[in-house]
């Protein structure tokens, strides 16, 4: 059997999801954003919610996310995506609203917005792509930068005395009663990508079922600003990011009542 016989539409097993547009992504080679976009498109197609999904894109590398996935999008001011998503979700209770944010957008500039949106338990999905660096602006230190990590603004490595400690915002958010599903995933191997897809799917299902905020952190790479090749960046992430940002579910109350938080007794 030769190649021409195999390459036949009847034998197709994997192709680009139909929801992704023909535009070439502007991301650097090997950027994790492309994989997360693809997973989002696959999940939205699987759940058949293309017509009622509204995404809120951040400021950061993913600012042009609206060019790549064919759903309704809204661009928010820097860090304010959860606030904008709150408004959209409250005005359109039948829609599925998600925000797509990076670590500078979510953990630094928009830290107040995300904490309060999660604490209010808005019915939104938050996709948080954490690569520990400000990618778009040229690799400056982010709140999630690891101790000792070299960036443009910490050329000798992040020093806890001078720059403070890395922020585990996902752990903070998992404590809030408004959140229903908080998880940390990664997209560096085929197995982890399939696991991440399941997590995103579960988060969207929780939003459809009105369970409260679901939060999916994706520990990812920024090979260009880490100054490594894409393959080496994945290895660096496994060796250095995973001991601090451990993948796994931090909270899963999608099966229980979201209002299980006990109020004060008078």
């Amino acid at each position: 059997m030769n190649l021409a016989d195999i390459i036949n539409p009847n034998n197709l097993v994997y192709e680009k999801p139909k929801l992704l547009t023909e535009n070439t992504m502007h991301y650097c080679p090997g950027c994790s954003h492309g994989v997360v976009h693809k997973l989002l498109a696959e999940v939205i197609l699987d759940l058949d919610i293309q017509e009622k999904t509204i995404g809120v894109s951040p400021v950061g590398c993913a600012v042009f996310a609206y060019n790549y996935i064919e759903i309704d999008w809204q661009e928010a001011a820097h860090g304010r995506a959860p606030a904008v998503a709150t408004g959209i979700a409250r005005c359109n209770p039948d829609k599925v609203v998600f925000t797509y944010q990076g670590d500078g957008d979510l953990a630094s500039i928009g830290a107040a917005e995300i904490l309060h949106a999660c604490n209010r338990g808005e019915n939104i999905v938050v996709i948080f792509v954490n690569n520990g660096i400000y990618g778009m602006t040229g690799g400056q230190m982010a709140p999630t930068t690891l101790i000792g990590q070299v960036t443009a603004t910490t050329p000798n490595g992040r020093d806890a005395g001078r720059n403070g400690y890395p922020l585990k915002i996902t752990e903070l958010i998992a404590q809030l009663p408004g959140t229903s599903y908080v998880t940390r995933q990664s997209v560096h191997t085929p197995a982890s990508i399939r696991k991440c897809k399941k997590a995103i799917s579960k988060a969207f299902q929780a939003a459809i079922d009105k369970k409260g905020t679901s939060f999916v952190e994706v520990v990812s790479t920024c090979n260009m600003n880490w100054k490594l090749s894409p393959v080496k960046a994945n290895e660096w992430m496994v060796d250095n990011m995973f001991p601090f940002y451990q993948p796994g579910d931090l909270k899963d109350s999608t099966k229980t009542d979201p209002a299980s938080y006990t109020p004060l007794k008078n």
Binding site: M1, L3, D5, I6, I7, N8, N11, L12, V13, Y14, E15, K16, P17, L20, T24, M25, Y27, C28, P29, G30, C31, S32, H33, G34, V35, K38, V187, T189, P190, I193, R194, S229, P230, V231, N234
Partner: protein, 85 residues
Amino acid sequence: MAKVIGAVVVDNEECKGCGLCVVACPQDALSQNKQVNGRGYHYSFMKNPQACIGCSNCATVCPDSCIVVYRVKINEVRTEPVLVS
């Protein structure tokens, strides 16, 4: 025994030559081309087409979704061993 053979088609112009698919391939069927595409990237290609099993690992990890995977199952006729007296 049924044998699975596959083939991948890489969109040469979309490929950014990140090399993640080369590492993800369990059969060592993919490699980066020495030639470059229109944008100057060393695009991926099948260096060993016979090895491909169509597992779609390469397409799963591809950030630019430029790999399409095909797979066929072939039922090989099992030959019975002939007893020679």
